[in-house]
């Protein structure tokens, strides 16, 4: 479903991703962990081309992009790849001038050009699924953080993406609101959605992940089943990272 080869990303000459190799199978849930500044967000954003890799190959679903030195940004090339994935942001990024329902419908109507009634029905289904059937006509500022984030998940899902990308979906939430969002994500995982999740919730990572990836300083240091990573980490840096979390 996702294939990334030799991916590099630099900002102002400073290399942040240093040759990432990663494949994600259909239906797989991959969790990325790692210290702050290790490039987790950047990697995720390279997958839906919110950041354009400096160099490397990215395939999502059946759309692919190979960035070499001569590559120039073209919206026409980027859009089909980006439309393969949905993204859930740390800060929700809901559209404040639209209701929950309108937030979820927006992509269906404007991007997918679905008929209004069909888009609405789809959006209602998605909102019901994340437990917000009774909050559809509220504006984002009328919703709690947890509810806003669930709207964010519904918005990403409404476009039937091949992959869902999550960047620390719960780290802006009050502790008591974290579980409702994790529950919604877990439900999608159980339904076989392909997902890449960056999170600091290690308990959740363990529970939901098919595979955990540990990143440090722009490299994938280690990847394995959650039991292996959390109980028998092979690399010293992974061990140090997990130890620091426990204290």
């Amino acid at each position: 479903m996702i294939e990334i080869r030799n991916l590099h990303k630099s900002f102002d000459g400073l290399e942040i991703l240093k040759g990432i190799e990663l494949t994600v199978e259909k239906g797989e849930v991959v969790v990325i962990i790692g210290p702050s500044g290790s490039g987790k967000t950047t990697l995720l954003r390279c997958m839906n081309l919110l950041e354009i890799p400096t160099q490397g190959y990215v395939r999502i679903g059946k759309e692919e992009l190979d960035v070499s030195t001569k590559w120039r940004y073209k919206e026409k090339v980027v859009l089909p790849i980006r439309q393969q994935s949905g993204m859930v942001f740390q800060g929700y990024n809901l559209f404040p001038h639209k209701t929950a329902l309108e937030n979820v419908m927006e992509g269906s109507v404007i991007v997918k050009k679905r008929p209004h009634a069909e888009a609405r029905q789809r959006a209602e289904e998605m909102l019901a699924k994340v437990g917000l059937a009774d909050r559809m006509n509220m504006y984002p500022h009328q919703l709690s953080g947890g509810q806003q984030q669930r709207v964010g998940i519904a918005r990403a899902m409404a476009l039937d993406p091949s992959v869902l990308l999550f960047d620390e979906p719960t780290s802006a939430l009050d502790p008591e609101l974290v579980s409702e969002v994790l529950k919604a994500i877990k439900q999608l995982a159980d339904e076989g959605m392909t997902m890449v999740i960056v999170t600091h919730e290690m308990g959740f990572a363990r529970e939901v992940a098919d595979r955990v990836i540990f990143m440090d300083a722009g490299h994938i240091v280690e990847e394995d089943k959650p039991e292996e990573i959390f109980e028998r980490p092979k690399h010293e840096r992974t061990r140090q990272f997990l130890q620091r979390l426990q204290t």
Partner: protein, 225 residues
């Protein structure tokens, strides 16, 4: 003394309707038309100044620099009295519309640019993440939020324009202030006439201020305060 005040009251009453009619048929349309064209210019200029195209950026910056750095009165004189020397003759009313539109465009391009930039980057990213093009994102997501921010300063600019249209009198447009000058010419009561026209400007700007607050309240709807 009585006779004098009777005469004055007569002048005030007799001139009120002609002044008001001129206001409604000249000042108000001149304001609306110039503002509408000016807004159009303002959006274009704001986009140009936000674009990565160096030529567009250069031209738009030059335009804003010149218009904001020179007096409106001087600009009107150049357009109406100056351009004929280059063989370009423009009627008084079109000249006024051109002058006012250019001014509205330059000042408000900065307002619109700042408003667009005030929308958080995350809104662009969210729009892109659902597959929108740059145009779709701008029109559906960014502009509606930016306009909310821009409305109060745009409203101020609109009300200033109502008053600034009096400058058109200097290039022979028979708008309201010009009309007051004409009436003064045969009544010899400048104090009365100019105060009267001031009151009518005050009426106009008060009505428009109320209108502006209504629009603002409506646009505040979705924002927690």
């Amino acid at each position: 003394m009585d006779m004098l005040s009777d005469r004055i009251i007569g002048i005030v009453v007799d001139s009120f309707l002609p002044l008001l009619v001129t206001g409604i048929t000249y000042t108000i349309p001149l304001t609306f038309i110039s503002f509408a064209i000016g807004l159009f210019l303002a959006f274009g200029t704001a986009y140009a100044r936000l674009s990565s195209n160096k030529i567009l950026y250069g031209i738009s910056s030059f335009y804003v620099w010149v218009i904001r750095g020179t007096p409106l009165l001087v600009q009107l004189f150049i357009i109406f009295y100056g351009l004929p020397n280059m063989g370009i003759t423009i009627g008084p009313l079109p000249a006024a519309v051109i002058g006012f539109s250019l001014s509205v465009g330059a000042y408000n391009s900065e307002v619109i640019r700042a408003a667009i930039q005030s929308v958080p980057k995350g809104q662009w990213e969210a729009a892109y993440s659902i597959g929108m093009t740059r145009r779709q994102a701008r029109r559906r997501i960014i502009l509606p939020q930016a306009i909310r921010v821009a409305i109060p300063p745009l409203g101020n600019s609109f009300i200033s324009l109502v008053k600034d249209t009096s400058l058109a009198a200097t290039i022979t447009v028979t708008e309201m202030f010009q009309k007051a000058q004409q009436i003064t010419a045969f009544t010899y009561e400048p104090l009365v006439l100019y105060c009267e026209v001031a009151v009518i400007y005050l009426m106009f700007s008060t009505v428009l201020s109320t209108l502006r607050s209504r629009v603002e309240t409506r646009l505040e709807r979705y924002v927690a305060k």
